[in-house]
């Protein structure tokens, strides 16, 4: 009866150990994310259309997070302009990147 390890071409243990000791040889491709996570800092439902892509984004209340196309982020963050209240204090930003 032939040796099972040899017939199936199983790598000897020595090679496997070498692989473990040289992790730099293993390359993992990381795909770049096309979206950015944006959080709403207002307690309401906010509908906003992306300036560039035209996509509709809906935030469902304070703390809700929506994945926004990178191209639309700049336009969306313009809503963060500082607004002064009637008593002189300032509202916190509308959106933040998380």
């Amino acid at each position: 009866m032939p040796d099972a390890r040899r017939s199936n071409k199983v790598k000897p243990l020595k090679d496997y150990e070498e692989m473990l000791w040289h992790p730099e040889e293993v390359t993992v491709k990381q795909e770049e994310k096309e979206t950015v996570s944006i959080m709403l800092h207002r307690s309401k439902i906010v509908k906003i259309r992306g300036e560039v892509t035209g996509k509709q984004y809906i935030f469902n209340g304070g703390g809700s997070i929506v994945e926004v196309d990178k191209k639309d982020v700049e336009g969306m963050m313009r809503n963060n302009r500082v607004r002064q209240s009637c008593c002189g204090s300032f509202s916190s930003p509308y959106f933040s990147i998380v």
Binding site: V46, S85, S92
Partner: protein, 213 residues
């Protein structure tokens, strides 16, 4: 004014009040009562302050006027038919902040003051819509009302309540030539049974670097 005569005996044991006066309304902040309060930051058994988070936002009441702070108690005489009233039994029911406002925007703040629904905002159409429906009786708020009485050095007082609700009917006056005014707004503070008996409603504090030394 020190009396020449007539002062009580034991003069070393008389406490007088200070020549410092409070003027004007405090700033009124409120936050969903589900938000955790600061847990005894000074380790003195008293919880107060607010910490805003994206989920539990802090709202500031814009330009309040006619601000009052009051309490409601039930008081019954202990009547002895032999000698008359020997005392009273008092039960504190609630505290209440009442105020009016002239600042109505944004609607997502106003909706809380008027017990209305969740605002829907469309940034494309540039609209905000506030539903007028039934009152959510499960909505409670922390209330924090600080008042700086010396802006040069930052001395201030604050009133903090654990669990309040906007109660009672409001009225909006719409008079020609006069800013709209919502009157009859009341934040009623109830007992929070999760807190120590001495501070189940809340607390009143003061910070003064020159006097409290």
């Amino acid at each position: 004014m020190t009396l020449v005569t007539g002062t009580p005996l034991g003069g070393a044991n008389i406490v007088t009040q200070e020549d410092i006066y409070l003027e004007g309304a405090p700033t009124i902040y409120f936050q969903d009562a589900n938000a955790p309060v600061m847990v005894d930051p000074a380790l003195d058994g008293l919880n107060w302050q607010l910490t805003g988070t994206p989920t539990y936002l802090i709202y500031e009441v814009g330009c309040p006027t006619d601000v009052t702070f009051s309490e409601n108690i039930t008081m019954n005489d202990v009547l002895c038919d032999n000698v008359g009233v020997k005392g009273v039994v008092q039960q504190r029911n609630y505290f209440e902040f009442s105020f009016s406002i002239m600042s109505f925007f944004p609607l997502d703040v106003l909706t809380n003051l008027l017990n209305c629904g969740t605002v829907v905002e469309d940034l494309g159409d540039h609209t905000q819509k506030m539903p007028l429906g039934k009152i959510n009786n499960d909505q409670y708020w922390h209330l924090y009302a600080p008042k700086v009485y010396n802006e040069n050095v930052g001395d201030y007082v604050w009133i903090y309540m654990h669990k309040t609700q906007f109660v009672d009917a409001w009225t909006i006056a719409m008079t020609l030539g006069v800013p709209w005014k919502a009157t009859g707004l009341k934040m009623r503070a109830f007992v929070d049974t999760t807190k120590a008996a001495s501070q189940q409603f809340g607390m009143w504090g003061r910070s003064d670097l020159s006097v409290i030394v």
